[in-house]
């Protein structure tokens, strides 16, 4: 069960209409290392985790990633909501506009739609947690590229917050992996 909270996890500021930046940031909505992929990966891997701490971590981080998805969506929405068709064309967002107007859709920066093959759910907790740690590092890199691309310091502020959360999640997954290894060692009978 999930409850919706009528608030964002982080307060966003958007200085001005900027469809070019929206086109880049949307990859963290529906791209390979984006928040949808992260959330769905963790929430579907949790069922076969062998220890209670791992079930909790995947549930809680998977839930926080949904909140991050909403922050990214709010950024994109506010960056394009007042854009004219001319501005959208000049930013190269016209291909997207032809299919979606200014609606939010799950695509990467180049417009390719989200696919389930971005994620894996292997049933092997060591393999799954390694994938999760890699996912956090890939998301961290993407946020760093987006921070370099951003020409709006207010948007950069939210991107920095999201980047920091990837670092924290990586740390927690690493600790979870250690706990799984301890559990596996404790089960060995000599």
């Amino acid at each position: 069960m999930w409850i919706y909270e009528k608030k964002l996890e982080y307060p966003i500021r958007v200085s001005y209409t900027n469809p070019r930046l929206a086109k880049e940031i949307i990859t963290q909505y529906g791209g390979p290392d984006g928040e949808l992929a992260a959330s769905l990966r963790y929430l579907t891997q949790r069922y076969t985790m062998p220890i209670p701490q791992a079930k909790a971590v995947l549930t809680d981080i998977g839930t926080e990633e949904l909140a991050h998805m909403e922050v990214v969506a709010a950024l994109v929405y506010n960056l394009i909501k007042n854009a004219t068709v001319e501005e959208i064309k000049a930013a190269g967002l016209d291909d997207y506009y032809a299919d979606h107007d200014k609606a939010l859709y799950f695509v990467n920066a180049a417009g390719a739609p989200w696919v389930a093959s971005y994620i894996q759910s292997k049933g092997d907790p060591v393999a799954d947690l390694h994938e999760d740690m890699a996912a956090e590092q890939k998301a961290r890199s993407t946020y760093e590229y987006l921070i370099r691309l951003s020409d709006d310091p207010d948007v950069t502020d939210a991107l920095r917050f999201l980047r920091e959360r990837e670092v924290v999640h990586f740390q927690r997954f690493g600790e979870t992996l250690n706990l799984v290894h301890e559990w596996m060692d404790s089960k060995k009978v000599f």
Binding site: Y4, K7, Y10, Q53
Partner: protein
């Protein structure tokens, strides 16, 4: 910044502390200092939310908050419509 945004910002601050402590506790369930911090933050967060909801309507759906007089859940603005521009 208006009063509503100030109150919302305070809720965001408290809840962020709760989220971060929650994740820490998931892998360190025996850390009693973190647990005490979590419980203190949770209590203050509940107070801040109750005060906010009495003015601006429910912040939680599905029976987690009550709505006074009318069904205020449907009222705008929704979260993506609130920016914190300076």
């Amino acid at each position: 910044m208006d009063q509503r945004r100030r109150e919302l910002l305070r809720i965001m601050e408290l809840e962020f502390a709760a989220i971060d402590l929650n994740l820490f506790l998931d892998t360190h369930p025996d850390e009693l200092r973190a647990l005490a911090d979590y419980n203190a933050v949770a209590q203050e967060l509940m107070r801040a939310k109750t005060a906010y909801e009495s003015r601006y309507g429910p912040i939680l759906n599905y029976g987690q908050s009550m709505s006074q007089e009318t069904w205020r859940w449907v009222e705008e603005p929704w979260p993506w419509e609130i920016t914190f521009n300076r």
